[in-house]
Amino acid sequence: MLVRPAMFLLVLGTAVSIMLTRRPTLGVIAVSAVFWSFVVAWQLLAGAAVIASAPARRVGLLRGLDLWCAGYLPYSLWLLVVAAVVEVSGEAPLVLFLCSALIPAAWTVMIAAAFCRTVLATTTAGARWRMTLHQAAMLGVATSYVLWGAGGYASVASFLARQVGQR
């Protein structure tokens, strides 16, 4: 059950190592994987909630979580592409990254919705509301972290206003 989350953390740690230090080193990969493991922990928690909400599911919780983690593939591939772009260009164009992140986001929703219908045996409507809640929870946590990291709502709003003003 831990293979897929561990694989995702390996990708995350390697991407951080390549983007920030221009090389894959064991120390940076390991430390970054540990630091960013809260992302996977939150994903697993959200996945467990989704699985537990489906009484007619065809698998147990652990097997369900293992299959749920198959949905990490789109973001794993996106991270690798982002790392390659930063290495080649030496820059991290924010708008490009945010826009390109829509691709793994949409792909993940499709995988998770299919997971709900096939593994959890939900209806299409059931899959839809579960995915809506799941995405809201993920977006909520991500937004909260970004707001905290960037110095608060007012700072982010003024940053965005300056970005728009430049264009």
Binding site: M7, L10, V11, T14, V16, S17, I18, M19, L20, T21, R22, R23, P24, T25, L26, G27, V28, I29, V31, S32, F35, W36, L67, A70, L73, S76, L77, L80, A83, A84, V86, E87, G90, E91, A92, I111, A114, F115, R117, T118, V119, V146, W148, G149, A150, G151, G152, A154, S155, A157, S158, R162, G165
Partner: protein
Amino acid sequence: MTPKTLCALLFASGVVIGTLLDRAPARMPLRVDGYSILAGDFHVHAFPGDGALGPWALRDEARRAGLDVFALTNHNQVVAARLARWAARLTNGPIVLVGQEVTNPDYHLIAVGIERTVNADQPAAAAIADVHAQGGVAIAAHPTTAFHGWDAAAMMTLDGAEAAHPIVHDSEVYRSDLEEFFQRTHQLNPRASPIGSSDTHVTPTLGECRTFVFVREASAAGVLDAIRNGRTVASDRDGRYYGDPDLVRLLERGTPAGRADGSRVWRRASLVLAWSGLLGMLLFGSSRGPTFS
């Protein structure tokens, strides 16, 4: 041997090469006319915050970047910076200074050498006074004309202003914004220091723009003293210097060390091996995974 095993071996060999290459040579700061010249970066972000690299790894990267000192300055918090300073006590390496990017919609202020978070919800002059009360130095961060919070009262108490920052390479307008801001600050406070900073978040740019600090003593106190007294020269990505012509001449008598990345070929090889190995592990690993319809 299965394709997935082969990819795992590729990845492992890339990481092994990358790790073995990771040996930044020890360096001694330049000494000119009784000063040690330290290379510093006083505007760096890290995890937890809006930087991606952890405080521990950041110090190693600073060593690789040829820095003698750096300040970790996350937005409106000093958690990561204090972690970095704590970790720095365990090993030798660049001096780590606790800092904060005091982030207000109308100004961004780099506070270096502080212990507690500075309240960002106040005018710039009051925030600078708080920084000074903690024994720190206050530096205007990327002060383009988009920031309206800089009045004369604030500017005359600044210890420095960023004259070199990655945005000067994005546009000549930004370059002239920063130059003009520094000139105005310098007129109000002749001791104000020109500062070069990378503002690193998620790119390998640590120390790309940097500050050469002329210290009498290679310590945190020595660095803060030099910034307070205008003994710095800022340098941008192209190696263009900003600051007192006499200090620039002193600097030009030596050759400041830059990044120490080792062999470019082996570094690239480690990247390609690890990246392609990981990609293969993902793709071959998922090919036998579940199929949802």
